[in-house]
């Protein structure tokens, strides 16, 4: 395995054993950032520092964290910090490793964020399957309380913070921030209308910061070591390191923390040890099921927010899934659609009905009963969904299907070859009669 980083910023547990133990964590300068902030910095300085460091949201959208924090109104109380630990994009498993192996880093990040925005309560919202992850995390929280890093009057600063864990019931949609808030409030996990944005009226209609686990875990390093130290990693517009969850047809799948801007080829070949059996890369899903699929020729794309968009996809949450020649492109697209059909929350018609319809057509094609008409229909269905869905998750369905149609059309046609096209009269009944 190549070592690009001399020191992990977030995956510190890979450098230091037992860092989930609070004493080990403290010994490694743990909670020093919090001490520094509480003693030497005003809340607004923390926000500004994070803003200048250019830390961007690691949940997928890449929105600058410091800018998000600065939207929080000063004069409305209470405020909340909500941590999005509903890690449910297929192929993403980075937050889980942070919470299990280096939990205090996250807690310190939350405390810094809460201090910056003036919140005294924080909730970590995890997916329902995270029970085994939340047990050690709860242990870490208990330890932090005992050491005075959480609770009333932290380190004598007058700043208080409580952190509570909450497990959802296991729904992809609850990773969408407003659906997450609904779920946390005990409502149905469905997205809310925006505006108002969570920064204005979020949890219980109060100003709320929602950040991903990895985003907040990046904060302590910035506060402790400064902007320049952080900007040493990554590119100018995508500074810092990012954890990539590599999976699919590679020899060494797993999480890899790399500076942003690292070439994709490095991740696949150096970190992942190349494709199984030395096969060719056929497709890359750089951000899970929601990805635009990139062809194998895009391996030299750099892993940062801008380069990935230029290459026609996006960085997202960094869940890189590698397809090789043994994988059928239609089958892979259908797997994604099965996922979306299962996870559509049902709030808006295009996503609820569109995913259901797509699954129906894909099943027909993969089962060998499809026709050329069906393949064409896939294109029109996603066209009808695009731009019309209530929340981004409905829109996420579109790029995967569209790029798979573009990249693997020959496989689609092969699957439907020889099947008769339906010969029923395509008569426009309404307009015949009226």
């Amino acid at each position: 395995m190549s070592k690009v980083l001399d020191r992990h910023l977030i995956f510190r547990h890979r450098d230091i054993e037992n860092i989930q133990n609070i004493d080990t964590y403290i010994k490694d300068d743990g909670y020093s950032a919090l001490k520094k902030a509480l003693k030497e910095m005003k809340p607004v300085d923390v926000t500004n520092e994070v803003k200048s460091a250019g830390l961007r949201g690691r949940g997928g959208a890449g929105f600058p964290a410091g800018v998000k924090w600065s939207f929080i109104p000063k004069d409305i109380f209470p405020k909340y910090v909500v941590v999005n630990a509903d890690e449910s994009e297929p192929g993403t498993f980075k937050d889980r490793e942070i919470m299990e192996k280096n939990p205090h880093l996250l807690l310190e990040g939350i405390a810094l964020c809460a201090y910056a925005v003036g919140a005294s309560a924080s909730y970590i919202y995890g997916r329902g399957e995270f029970l085994s992850t939340f047990r050690p995390l709860q242990q870490a929280i208990d330890d932090a309380y005992k050491h005075g890093f959480l609770g009333e009057n932290i380190l004598g600063s007058g700043f208080s913070l409580d952190i509570r864990l909450h497990l959802g019931a296991g729904a992809y949609i609850c990773g969408e921030e407003t659906a997450l808030l609904n779920s946390l409030e005990g409502l149905m996990g469905q997205p809310r209308n925006r505006p108002p944005f969570p920064a204005v009226a979020g949890l219980y209609a109060k100003p709320t910061v929602i950040n991903n686990v990895e985003t907040l875990s990046g904060v302590p390093y910035i506060i402790l070591n400064g902007i320049d130290a952080y900007r040493k990693y990554g590119t100018d517009r995508s500074p810092g390191t990012k954890i990539f969850s590599l999976s699919g047809r590679v020899n060494r799948p797993g999480n890899y923390e790399l500076p942003l801007g690292t070439p994709l080829r490095h991740l696949v070949e150096e970190c992942g040890g190349g494709v199984i059996d030395g096969k060719q890369v056929k497709g890359i899903l750089p951000s899970g099921a929601a990805s635009s699929i990139m062809g194998g020729d895009k391996l030299d794309t750099h892993l940062d927010y801008e380069s990935m968009v230029e290459a026609g996809s996006m960085l997202g949450s960094g869940s890189v899934i590698i397809l090789d020649e043994t994988i059928n492109g239609v089958w892979a697209a259908k797997k994604n659609i099965d996922f979306f059909r299962h996870e559509s929350c049902g709030k808006c018609s295009p996503c609820r009905e569109g995913t259901h319809w797509l699954k129906s057509v894909y099943t027909k094609i993969v089962d060998g009963h499809g026709t050329k008409q069906d393949v064409d229909m896939l294109g029109t269905i996603i066209g009808q969904m695009e731009g019309n869905c209530f929340c981004p998750l409905g829109e996420f369905v579109v790029p995967g299907v569209r790029t798979s149609l573009g990249l693997y059309m020959d496989e689609y046609l092969e699957m439907v070859a020889g099947n008769e096209e339906a010969s029923q009269p395509q008569k426009d009944l309404i307009h015949t009669f009226f």
Binding site: K347, S349, E353, H356, W357, G387, N388, L429
Partner: protein, 890 residues
């Protein structure tokens, strides 16, 4: 900044108030934007995506904030990259909206195709067919062919009973959640929800019993597809076959505007197929309760009286009008000459129209010469209100507009049971518009959940409490002296009396602390608008009426819109009965009676001075054994009614009357709004309108009235009753279109446009600069606390009333005779649900099963009025509301 915003929709300019949604702005220029989930009365969710439009806003340079101009010097419009939902996007200055552009039309077609992928397309057998937004919008915007694989359609049960009144066909549902939002936001019965997600999502009811709400029928109206249908109307008729007739609900005093959907049957006679709400924003908005919707079957009941009956050899036998009318004339004349006119008396129920009641009192006062008339029997027995005359809510009052800065004081009324639509309007004023609703009663009621303040008094002390509030208003210096000087006299006299009722002194008696009383007084007096709503549970107490009148007057909360007093009267025309002077001690229009007052209903029915009676639309025999005995002993009894009631069974002559759907007339609702209802269906051939029967009897007694129609009677009322001078029929009927209007049912959920403020309120004394209110207080009777259990007897919606008994679908909702007891008392007495108890008071005892209720306070037992066996009336008497009783396990 201006409060108006100008924008362009498809090239047309429209100016609307700031904050208006695009969909509403478009409606103003009659540009229809199709919707499913949007409903003007509900919160916006933007989930059906049907209303997607292209939206652009004027472009400004980011750095300089200068407008960006095109080559012609016109400011450029920047369109949003994605279409926007017109139902959630508010307008902004200079906005450009494209509704009928190619892209927007494509989006609409796309969304419709999605919605139809799993829709069963069973329009030919669907009750919504013909008035279905999905059907109409598909015709307008949809594709004519179906691309979805038919075999893959989702299947759900086709007739799932969501409650016992509402049937769900989940296959037709488009998951717009209008029904769920109606139940939580308007009805405040959040009993519906979505279960599961994605395409498996379906509507469920979580309550027990399922869909436990008095408003469930409205969910079928707001449903934009045929997913929700009522058990009553299901497969009953096609919407286009029906003739729609404007009517007024006759079940309570609210006066909801309704539409009778009638159809000519095979025999050629009209059939009443359904009752739906008719929009009137000042009365019922878009809603009616389930009793009003389903309780119409009495009109066409096979049990109706169809011909006059006359007693021969002890039996009632069929007769003819030609035979019975002269007989009635003879008998009345002979009693009059033998015993004098005061031996004759009459009782008219408050369900009769103003025209009937006017002629009823005219017959007795002018032709017979007796003041022995009354309407206060049955549910009306313990409740008559005259505060409306002086300080009733001002003309133009509209509870749907009452909000922030207003205080609504609800005293002694369970609105959800007694006047359901009033309940949702008061609850809405509180929850949606932030009015301060103060719910005061002897027990917890549903309104407590929406009221910001609740207070509980000991039964029998409501008048003390109101006097305490009044004393506190005076003590805190919150009186409106200017208003008092202009409109009232006697203020200084009442202040002396109030010294005995300071909050401190009434706190112990009432059980409400002086701090609470002071806070209530302050909120009410300082409010911009103040409304008092009081009901019969506060007690049949002259001291209460006087105190409420004084409270409204000294705070100046009278004589103007959204201020004043509403009495929650029981019947459709209880207000009209009081207006028409169907009481022994007062004339028409609240004018004083010169000379001796007549006998009240209670006096007539418990003494022996009355020899002959006419009873119209009332059934006193059913409520008391004393009454029954008295009626049996009469020399002559005429009853006019729809059914052979217990009273009619005692009569010498029974006359068949027309039901409300078969005739026209006017009702005056509890806000004093006079409203007309129209003829919807044919009556039994020999049934007559009550006013016509009364005119015929008068004719037999020598009068020559010559009324030809109900509006002819009203024409005379306008001459005789100054309060009613503007109530001629032509003034009461605003131009209402009951033609089906597509856009109206797409947006509002019903077929008929009628955004009217129909009906006319008569003006109170407070609104009349020439008259003054004489403030007078009545000292309440001494209240002695009791260690015994207090029996309370409220009105309920689904009671054992004769009219409701004819509707089969609601029979399971009708209150099964039992008593409700608090869990504390049940424990003390060692009782479990269903155990039988003996409740006794002054020698009367009844045995009833009990149900333990968490809504009751310790020391209270509840039996509703007007239920099977009339146990409540037997224990407390007709005219009382509560009594101390002994309860023991039997």
């Amino acid at each position: 900044m201006s409060d108006q915003v100008t924008l362009t929709i498809d090239g047309k300019t429209v100016t609307v108030p700031k904050g208006t949604l695009i969909v509403e702005a478009a409606k103003q220029i009659e540009q229809e934007i199709p919707v499913f989930c949007y409903h003007g009365k509900l919160s916006q969710v933007g989930m059906c995506r049907m209303c997607l439009v292209e939206v652009g806003t004027p472009m400004f340079d980011r750095a300089t904030r200068e407008p960006v101009l095109d080559e012609n010097g016109v400011q450029k419009i920047g369109f949003f990259p994605k279409p926007m939902t017109a139902c959630t996007t508010p307008v902004s200055e200079g906005m450009v909206v494209k509704v009928d552009s190619g892209a927007a039309l494509d989006d609409r077609k796309a969304v419709l195709e999605f919605l139809l992928t799993s829709h069963p397309l069973d329009c030919p057998v669907c009750d919504k067919g013909g008035e279905c937004p999905l059907q109409d919008l598909t015709m307008k915007h949809g594709s004519g062919i179906s691309r979805f694989n038919y075999e893959e359609k989702q299947h759900f049960p086709k007739k799932y009973p969501l409650g016992d009144l509402i049937v769900l066909d989940m296959e037709r549902c488009v998951i717009c959640t209008r029904c769920i939002r109606f139940q939580s936001e308007i009805a405040h019965d959040p009993v519906l929800a979505i279960e599961n997600r994605g395409r498996h999502a379906h509507i469920v009811s979580y309550s027990d019993p399922p869909f436990d709400s008095h408003y469930s029928g409205n969910a079928t109206d707001v449903c934009p597809v045929g997913a929700l249908t009522t058990k009553d109307f299901r497969f009953g008729a096609r919407s286009w076959e029906m003739k729609n007739v404007p009517s007024i609900c006759n079940h309570c005093g609210v006066g909801c505007n309704t539409v009778l959907g009638t159809r000519k049957g095979g025999s050629g006679t009209g059939q009443l197929k359904r009752v739906m709400p008719r929009q009137n924003e000042t009365v019922n908005e878009l809603w009616i309760c389930d009793k009003g919707r389903f309780g119409h079957h009495f009109n066409e009941s096979p049990n109706r009286l169809t011909t006059p009956l006359i007693r021969q050899d002890g039996q009632l036998v069929e007769s003819t009008w030609a035979d019975v009318l002269p007989f009635i004339g003879e008998k009345i004349s002979s009693i009059k000459s033998a015993n004098g006119s005061t031996a004759l008396g009459g009782i008219a129920g408050a369900r009769l129209s103003n025209e009937d009641l006017y002629l009823f009192q005219k017959l007795f006062r002018q032709i017979i010469g007796s003041n022995n008339i009354d309407h206060r029997v049955g549910l009306n027995a313990n409740f008559e209100d005259t505060t409306a005359y002086t300080v009733g809510v001002g003309v133009g009052t509209d509870l749907s507009q009452v909000g922030k800065g207003s205080t609504i004081l609800v005293i002694g009324s369970d609105l959800d049971q007694e006047a359901p639509i009033l309940y949702i309007r008061v609850a809405g004023a509180s929850v949606k518009r932030s009015a301060h609703v103060i719910n005061i009663g002897g027990r917890r009621t549903k309104l407590d959940a929406q009221a910001q303040t609740s207070a509980y008094y000991q039964y029998g002390t409501a008048s003390y409490l109101v006097l305490g509030i009044l004393a506190s208003v005076v003590a805190q210096g919150l009186v409106n002296q200017e208003w008092i000087d202009r409109h009232a006299t006697g203020f200084s006299e009442i202040t002396k009396l109030l010294q005995d009722f300071a909050p401190d002194s009434v706190a112990d008696t009432t059980g409400v602390s002086s701090a609470e009383i002071e806070a209530i007084a302050k909120s009410y007096a300082e409010a911009e608008n103040g409304i008092i709503i009081f009901g019969h549970e506060a007690g049949n107490d002259p001291a209460l009426g006087a105190a409420i009148e004084a409270l409204a007057a000294v705070t100046g909360h009278a004589g103007k819109p959204n201020n004043g007093v509403i009495a929650v009267l029981p019947h459709a025309n209880s207000r009209g009965a009081a207006d028409m002077g169907v009481v022994p001690n007062r004339l028409l229009g609240y004018l004083p009676l010169e000379g001796e007052a007549g006998l009240s209903a209670e006096q007539m029915l418990s003494g022996n001075s009355i020899k002959g009676m006419i009873i119209a639309g009332a059934d006193p025999a059913s409520e008391s054994d004393t009454y029954r005995e008295c009626l049996q002993n009469l020399d002559f009894l005429v009853v006019q009614d729809l059914f052979l009631t217990e009273t009619a069974q005692l009569a010498d002559v029974v006359l068949p009357a027309k039901a409300v759907a078969e005739r026209d007339g006017t009702f005056t609702n509890l806000e004093r709004r006079v409203q007309t209802f129209d003829v919807g269906i044919d009556s039994p051939l020999l049934a007559w309108s009550d006013w016509l029967i009364l005119a015929a009897i008068a004719g037999q007694l020598g009068a020559d009235w010559g009324y030809a129609s109900a509006d002819g009677v009203m024409a005379e009322i306008t001459q005789e009753v100054p309060l009613y001078q503007n109530m001629a029929f032509e003034n009461l009927v605003a131009p209402v279109s009951l033609d089906r209007q597509t856009d109206h049912y797409i947006y509002e959920g019903m077929s008929f446009t009628a955004d009217v403020h129909e009906g006319i309120q008569w003006a109170t004394v407070a609104e009349n600069e020439q008259q003054k209110i004489t403030l007078q207080l009545v000292v309440p009777e001494n209240h002695t606390g009791s260690d015994e259990i207090t029996l309370v007897t409220p009105r309920i919606l689904y009671d054992g009333g004769r009219l409701l008994a004819e509707t089969d679908v609601v029979q399971s909702h009708v209150f099964q005779t039992r008593a409700l007891l608090s869990s504390v008392d049940a424990k003390k007495l060692g009782l479990n649900n269903g155990d039988s108890v003996t409740i006794s008071q002054n020698g009367t005892a009844v045995n009833l099963p009990i149900q333990i209720s968490r809504m009751l306070n310790e020391g209270t037992i509840l039996i509703p009025r007007n239920i099977e066996g009339r146990p409540a009336e037997r224990l407390v008497g007709s005219s009382d509301v509560h009594a101390s009783v002994k309860v023991k396990k039997s």
